[in-house]
């Protein structure tokens, strides 16, 4: 019977561990584990978290900026279209107003012209009436005077006198 740690040929059996090596294996591994767990893993996790945060934050910022830009674009377009509408309305208004003013002026001018024409007609008529009246009176007087002189007979009676004058003027008008 040979010792367990020797093989048949006197070689050492490599499968039988040295106690010291098992113990050192435990100790070395435990040491490394404690160092990596306490010092390294938290730092790497921190870096990961910071990176995730940075990337996500960046994406969120970009999204926000894009949203804002879109909103600004919409607003700008709205303003543009409302301004265009307003301008069109203003032009329309101005044109309408212009037309109204023109119409008003024309009406006013026509009225004025009509008024002036009417006034002129009236004044002409009045003057004509006046002329006729004064003419009739004068012509009457002249004619009466003439007739009285010719006939020799004074036609004092006012009524008869005017009847004669009227008849005379009618005759005159008829002969015209």
């Amino acid at each position: 019977m040979q010792p367990l740690n020797l093989l048949a040929g006197g070689e050492l059996n490599p499968l039988i561990p040295h106690t010291s090596e098992v113990i050192v294996g435990f100790i070395a591994f435990t040491l490394l584990f404690l160092v990596l767990k306490s010092k390294v893993v938290p730092m790497f996790e921190k870096a990961y978290a910071a990176r995730t945060e940075a990337i996500q934050g960046g994406i969120e910022r970009a999204e926000k900026a894009q949203l804002e830009a879109q909103r600004a674009l919409v607003q700008y377009n709205e303003q543009l279209s409302s301004a265009q509408g307003e301008a069109a309305k203003l032009r329309e208004d101005a044109r309408a107003q212009g037309a109204a003013i023109l119409e008003e002026l024309r009406t006013k001018a026509q009225d004025e012209a009509a008024r002036i024409t009417a006034a002129a007609h009236a004044s002409i008529e009045a003057e004509r009436q006046q002329a006729i009246t004064s003419l009739r009176n004068e012509v009457g007087a002249l004619a009466v005077e003439l007739a009285s002189k010719i006939v020799g007979e004074a036609l004092d009676d006012q009524v008869r006198q005017s009847r004669i004058v009227d008849r005379f003027i009618e005759d005159l008008e008829k002969s015209k």
């Binding site: 490599p14 090596e21 098992v22 490394l32 893993v41």
Partner: protein, 262 residues
């Protein structure tokens, strides 16, 4: 180094590297337990701690090259492994898995780092230590999450299986959970590192021995050295892979304990 010395002393005859080459003498003669792999294990703790503390110190949003390098490793375990395997509770286990991966990886790399050139895990004691920790962790998680009775029942009587099958399945499951898993976990890592280191020893020491032989043998030795270099690259791959597998299996075992039905 010892083999080099003994070879030179013997002069004639090639002694192939063996398991004895993995038993290194104490660094200081009066401290018998303080051997090279033990020193390497502590060196790895210091190197990993320093590297990650420096790289994570600033925790900047825009990382420096150093922080980026550290974060890449951390993110690889955190998001590439823990998150996928463990689900929503993964953050609790990230420090453990992260430590496990970096510790195994750096100690494996020591196998090909010039001047060090000894993978710590080719000493089975270290591999057992980590396997035992994983063993304790996943049982603890299972008991805490599901309660002792429910957890053991889940292991012994896998739900959704026809009753007669339990005759076969129950012993297999119990053996798997309590015996096979920790051993395979530890031995897989150990055996890969052990075999890899042995292979490198064979080609490099063999090449050196050929160089000391007659002219014909001298001509062959470059092939042995070339093979040794090629195997070094291969070893690098195996070292990374084994570190990943150890961590992945640990995560899978924990995930199994977290799930109500495994």
């Amino acid at each position: 180094m010892r083999t080099f010395v003994s070879l030179a002393a013997e002069g004639e005859g090639f002694t192939p590297p063996s398991a004895n080459d993995f038993v290194l003498p104490p660094i200081f003669e009066n401290i018998s337990w303080f051997t090279k792999p033990i020193l390497l294990a502590f060196v790895s703790v210091i190197l990993i701690s320093v590297f990650f503390i420096i790289s994570s110190r600033k925790a900047a949003t825009v990382p420096s090259k150093m922080q980026f390098a550290g974060e890449s490793v951390y993110g690889f375990i955190r998001d590439g492994l823990a998150k996928d395997v463990l689900g929503p509770e993964f953050m609790r286990f990230v420090p453990y898995l992260f430590t496990l991966f970096t510790f195994v990886l750096v100690n494996n790399w020591f196998g090909i780092v010039p001047m060090l050139q000894f993978p710590t895990f080719s000493r089975v004691g270290f591999a057992y230590a980590l396997a035992i920790i994983t063993y304790l962790v996943y049982h603890y998680v299972g008991v805490k999450k599901q309660g002792l009775g429910h957890y053991l029942k889940g292991i012994a009587f896998m739900p959704g299986v026809p009753k007669p099958i339990y005759v076969l399945l129950t012993p297999i499951e119990i053996a798997t959970f309590f015996i096979v898993r920790p051993f395979t976990l530890g031995l897989r890592l150990f055996a890969n590192m052990f075999a890899g280191h042995l292979l490198l020893l064979v080609f490099i020491l063999g090449g050196e021995h050929l160089l000391q032989g007659v002219v014909g043998l001298k001509l062959v030795s470059p092939f042995a050295f070339t093979m040794g270099i090629a195997l070094t690259f291969f070893e690098f791959m195996v070292q990374c892979l084994q570190a990943y597998i150890f961590t992945l299996l640990t995560a899978l075992y924990i995930a199994g304990s977290l799930a109500d039905e495994h």
